[in-house]
Symmetry: D3
Subunit: 274 residues, 6 copies
């Protein structure tokens, strides 16, 4: 990861929460040094550690000692991180530290459940662009820590022709034709199809990936037969932890689910000065 | 709200999702104009409309016509917004539009449930600083739309002496003394107490608000009796939709719950070009 | 104070004065190291030292040794700071160093005079928002160093209902009502009153502070009697070093004066390479 | 002036004073429109009008009608500007509007006094780099409005060899030699001299301007004779409104005085909603 | 293209060339309006028009009338653009306008020559990341206007395994293995090969594109035979206008050449006020 | 040079090329350390070394050892820089390192040729404002390394009255008059003249420099006679390496040529991991 990029994001987060200063901590703390611990109040998968380490490097005067590895499972009561150093720095950064660890561990934990549900298949779990505005880099990182893969990051790094594009262009074929005329070879082209008929059309257009949107598990099986391995297949929409295995048919390459990000739950953690 | 502030935030969100350009839409769309609709796929409370309006004003060439008012209830199938204008602008802004509306309506919807559970009492529902890094302004706005009130925005606009501050200062009394010596009169002072004994100490310190942290409903009732209206009372921790009414004892001024933000669910919406 | 915030401010100041480079110093200086001194050419109270230290940390290669403590009195001829290191860094930062120390020491010095005039009373001296655009954080810091307290920092961290608000709302009562309906419990509410009649109305509205605007000392005494300690009292307007003691009646909590910032005089200092 | 540059500065000032929003005004005001006036409470020279106009253009919904021209004299009681439009916009921008007008009119007013004292001579009044960090562009603008001229803006746009440079280089001659070797022809070269002997040396070095630093009026007269018009002469240091005329000897081109900026007094103005 | 992104780039360019103001134009011009023309002093392909239009929209008060279409050929003496409006705005923006049009038209013109040399083949011309720091977006745009296609924009939007990556990983196979394990399906994978032996290895690794680096035209022909259409083929290095046709063998998909950007010549244009 | 300014520029360049991360290098590299070399593939003059050193200081974990001094000549095959440290940092920064060194060394090399052609004369070579938008600081630095001098940096640091200004003002005399009335003494005044007649007019206006625009060598000789040393003379336009000596008549002070920047060729360099 680009450390300078991460620092500029963290500076923005500090600007939001600390601004010109933490008036409580500046009044209460002098130059005391303390030890503190981040402790788990429920189980989960840890994500966000490198950002916490970079945060305290930026602020200075605090040593960060991870007790659980990034991506590892922890259980209720586990000490995740030990901190030692200036009390004022620790108290001012406490909330941002926890907000990052709780949200990102929540995503990693939920992703891990979906990934486990796919164990034994060749299907990879993908995320989507349904992310919190301004926080996508971190959320997509947490998906990787949970064992998932990232779909495109943004509108500039992959072509994805969706339903609305087809309507504007008039047809799938015309949309693909325009893209191939104008977009260079650096970017993959994926098309969303809504029916088996449309899938058949897409197979003739020599695209990289076809997304089966809101298909039933039975339709997915049918689609795989039709595709005959000529294109990568992504299943999207209506996928839950309960039905994901049904969708993970032989021949499906990817199942994407925005919910591992937007419907994840924060993991309960606390930071305690000893 | 400060419109220039909001524009700078929206520009940052566009930078994240669009960056130097939306390669799919730039290739597929010419100068076509279309109509499109944001449609609800489940019921909820609408929040985020002013940001969507500002977003399209920044991008230009699209007219936004709200069909449901900010803060109003909608049901599955309702058209929330009609858009009319340049197809490329609508398609490029689609995901950010939906990500804002879905997340913020989710928060407003959850907040409304908590607020309804308090109906008939004098207790106000508050949020906390447990928010997504970089998105707090929007999340706290949605709480207000849902009928809640905002607790402090950040570390610079109110004093809140928490457990860790007391440990560094040595005692609650000493922490409050330091704050009163150094912080000017512009900011309210709140202290977190963990027991009825600590509450009694706090009452002698002439602070503005006392937060009862992780008290049972019975302890809260006891605390109210002890406080005798000498200070505002906030209840925090362990509050759920199920038990919130039990906590809403006569004499409690505020119940704060971070979960209306961090544990809210996105409301399912879609944007369809007609 | 938030060190990252301060660094971003100092970087802005350097951008203004140095930009792409100091063409004189780059041509004249090689890698020479020198000693230099900041010397007082008149007496005063020192303010700004932490910013000078941070500035040279950012630029590197210069050691800063304070000879007078922040907030201490110095007299003409005193050496305030010794610098040792790269000549080019010292010469390039000379003007910004002096501009900060001279302006901030000027504010601290003037504030100290006002604070001394209040000695023996319980009245605290406050500043206002009448500050130089872009420099408020530093100016308000210098007030604290001089012994004063800060009024609100900006429009977002406290409610202050002034004359113009009352006119728009139609009445003081209506303005307060609207505020209480919309603003959460995190922020104090202060109202400005222009007469004893208005003060009586304000006392019924349960606000935190009442500002007596442009009252005579006699009116202030009357106001204190009417208020009977039910609310904090701030005196504002027409206050000078000569008459401040008359305003500091028993029962007055704060006297605010923008002039400690906007009418302060720079303290004459010089930086000499030895 | 570069309008985009000015907008970015004004946005920074709004960020300081308004941030995410003006909580009082947002609560008190709806969509009311009002008329308001900026009124002089003492006499002076108006400066800052274009920035106020640009500010309200950025914020929108308010019409600004100047009643006194930029650079014109006004007297106590004069209406300087009439505003008409959204009450919330006017109230939120009130303090920044006044802070700019009061500080800049103060500088213009003081500069005008110095300039008047020079009437009948050929001497031009100059400012210096002794300015408030971050506000220099505006302060130097006000000097021009007052009738003065600007000395260099920053370290990058002119060479000025001062005492400390001479010490590092070993001599005035060596400092000038290094500058001529390395700096291109775009920038003027000025040297500061501390005695008549040094002036004689400087005259041999073919520089553009010589600054007589801390000379008495008599020494200045002597210096003019020695210089014989071979170089432009700037007088600097110890200049006051009282003695400036003594320094304005025939043959002196410029008198510079930082005090028109750093020792100016704010002009008392108020903004009243009608 | 993302208009907000372009505006932020143009603002940066104006900051570089205009900063706080154009001192010549501000002194010389009042509120005069003029007509002006951008005229070609040599032939070429026009590129950069949309940026000039956006620039004058940002600055205001000038109407831009293109006389030659973006991407069209022009000859010496042709009027490319007519401008009408405020003289000061036109003069201040003159240099940036010309610097953009001259550099970008130079790239488009050179690209067109390369593209013409490939006419009749199926080979597409690509650019590289050998671009001027900070100006890539514009340079790559000009390549498209000239008829070329863009290779990846940056290190974040495509995988390209180069020689140095292979050395760190130990082998091409290992490098590809690591990439496939860690990088999601959104990004294409290209590998650079230095010999026919390495090409054969690459064919087994199921990558999207193989770059033949510094191959002779004969080796390229051999490579095409070996590849048998199983992978896209890019030829890179040592390609000039003279030899490009020899490299454009049947079976080659892309020829990349950084020189259309970094070795292009500015087209001579002038802007004349009438 | 202002190190903080340079860092902010380099951060912008990294943002362009690396953004949120180098997906290839992050996947391929672990914590390996390597040695690498920047090697010349053709001869030239080295420029850009300080920026490469600052870049790796910002990124950390890599030691930079220059083998050829800034401004020195090198020949094909020379090792210019040795790098040792983290493989991922080196690979991610490779392209930016080379893009800076290749472009800047190209400018320094071309400038050196022009400067050599002037050897034995007193004429100094100058650059112009015909530079790549956003990269001027670096390009003008490279001119100095090549032995040239810089003309003004931007529109704010010198007055240059060009043809278009004269047209707006009505005459050269009027344009100069307006400038002298409004611009302070800090900035030099240069005027562009198009004929010997205009030169004669300019000589009466007491400006600092006259630019002879598009004169033939013979006209330049005539101009020098007319000027009689009363003003500095700059020759501009139509100057090439072939004819520059003809223009370098005794009495000419400067010859300016934008082509040392905009028509320079990148020097071919490569970075190889050992």
């Amino acid at each position: 990861m680009n450390r300078l990029f991460i620092r500029s994001q963290l500076q923005r987060f500090l600007e939001e929460d600390v601004g010109r200063g933490d008036i409580t901590t500046e009044a209460v703390c002098g130059e005391e040094t303390v030890k503190a611990r981040v402790v788990a109040k429920e189980k989960g998968i840890l994500a966000g550690l490198p950002f916490v380490q970079e945060l305290f490097l930026m602020l200075g005067d605090v040593c960060v000692r991870p007790k659980v590895g990034e991506g590892s499972e922890f259980k209720e009561g586990d000490v995740l991180i030990e901190l030692e150093g200036r009390a004022d720095v620790i108290l001012t950064a406490e909330r941002l530290t926890l907000n990052m660890l709780q949200s990102l561990s929540g995503i990693a934990t939920k992703t891990r459940e979906f990934v486990r549900a796919l164990e034994g298949t060749k299907v990879k779990l993908l995320d989507t662009r349904k992310t919190t505005p301004g926080y996508r880099f971190f959320e997509k990182y947490a998906v990787r820590i949970g064992g998932g893969s990232n779909h495109r990051f943004a509108l500039y790094d992959m072509v994805l022709i969706k339903d609305n594009h087809k309507r504007v262009a008039g047809s799938l074929e015309e949309a693909v034709r325009r893209v191939k005329e104008k977009v260079g070879p650096a970017y993959k082209i994926e098309v969303e199809v809504e029916s088996l008929e449309e899938l058949e059309k897409a197979l003739d257009l020599s695209v990289d990936i076809v997304m089966l949107d809101n298909f039933t598990p039975e339709e997915v099986k049918e689609a795989v037969k039709i595709a005959k391995g000529k294109v990568e297949i992504e299943v999207s929409g209506k996928v839950t932890l309960e039905n994901i295995r049904e969708y993970a048919t032989e021949g499906v390459d990817y199942i994407s689910s925005g919910s591992v990000i937007y419907a994840s739950s924060w993991i309960d953690l606390s930071l305690r000065v000893l």
